[in-house]
Symmetry: none
Subunit: 172 residues, 2 copies
Amino acid sequence: MGLAGKTPPATGEMDRFVSHYLLRLDAKGRVSVPASFRALLARDGFDGLYCYPALDRPVLDAGGNALLAEIQSLIAGFSPFSEAREQFSLSLYGTSETLKIDGEGRVTLTEALKAHAGIAAAATFVGLGHKFQIWEPGRFRAELAEATEKVRAFKQELGARMVAVKPLGARE
Amino acid sequence: MGLAGKTPPATGEMDRFVSHYLLRLDAKGRVSVPASFRALLARDGFDGLYCYPALDRPVLDAGGNALLAEIQSLIAGFSPFSEAREQFSLSLYGTSETLKIDGEGRVTLTEALKAHAGIAAAATFVGLGHKFQIWEPGRFRAELAEATEKVRAFKQELGARMVAVKPLGARE
DNA sequence: TTGACGCCCATAATGTCCCATGATAGCCCA
DNA sequence: TGGGCTATCATGGGACATTATGGGCGTCAA
């Protein structure tokens, strides 16, 4: 599908995962998936939650068809029987879970998933646009601070460069 | 972005956020979004209010599709699974909120947003063209004074330089 | 049996919707 | 040109829906 509008978003609804939420796990190990995320997954036509441990950091990537499509295209980019393709398929598909979402909008993370992210009593769900991540709250705070610092530095550098290139009245 | 509008602006309507308004939060924490801003958001085809804490100052940036597009294009510049993309998404989308606008044109700022801007009892909405900002009134006054001073100085410098380069009023 | 997991209901807190009010600004018409 | 009439706006508050969370029971499999 194209970039142009599709299903008219309902009130305040978005076609991307945004914001972040801190949710607690109950005694049975269940966590509520934020309502806004659930709404997006439903609109995306995905029943359940596609989830896997991120390759290089202690966090879980999750989402619906949009995420699945991205992974698919990544793997499709490698030649059919290449070593790389096998490895990517194995590490992405092989460790993925399709979690069931119960009537109240909760999921139960597997032990492997929780262990990878270091999640125990609570989890932070963070929207990244086409997908979202699930972090151990403390680690999320640290990561957010670091990421924000990087973006800030980038913005300043960008701003400085613009001024250098267009000294006078560079109007948009 | 193009200058040409899409939907013909009605009488006195603008295709940019301009001017500033001081609005109070009610007991439930709601604030009215200035009517002229709402009209622009509606014309922009965005239902709700996209809002996030500014990177380097105690202010909130807000807007509709135009603002969203700006962020999206920044992130789209990084390759799908790159570290940079993940961090930019985390910081930009992760701290964003899509606030719902109620039937009376009000929004409820989240605690995180209010904390970042230092907003408690009132807020100043300031038009910045394709987006607008939400300030704590006192801070806005101070910032405005400072900015005005800077612009004044810059204008004088610019005027002097213009005279040197293009002696006679070369206007667009 | 003993869990692990599915499905159901209960509840407190929050968020959303709807209607009411006073103030303002714009408009029409004499 | 002035004077009121009305649509719009900012604001207040109550009623109701949704959310996150807790816990009860069966079922199916070790």
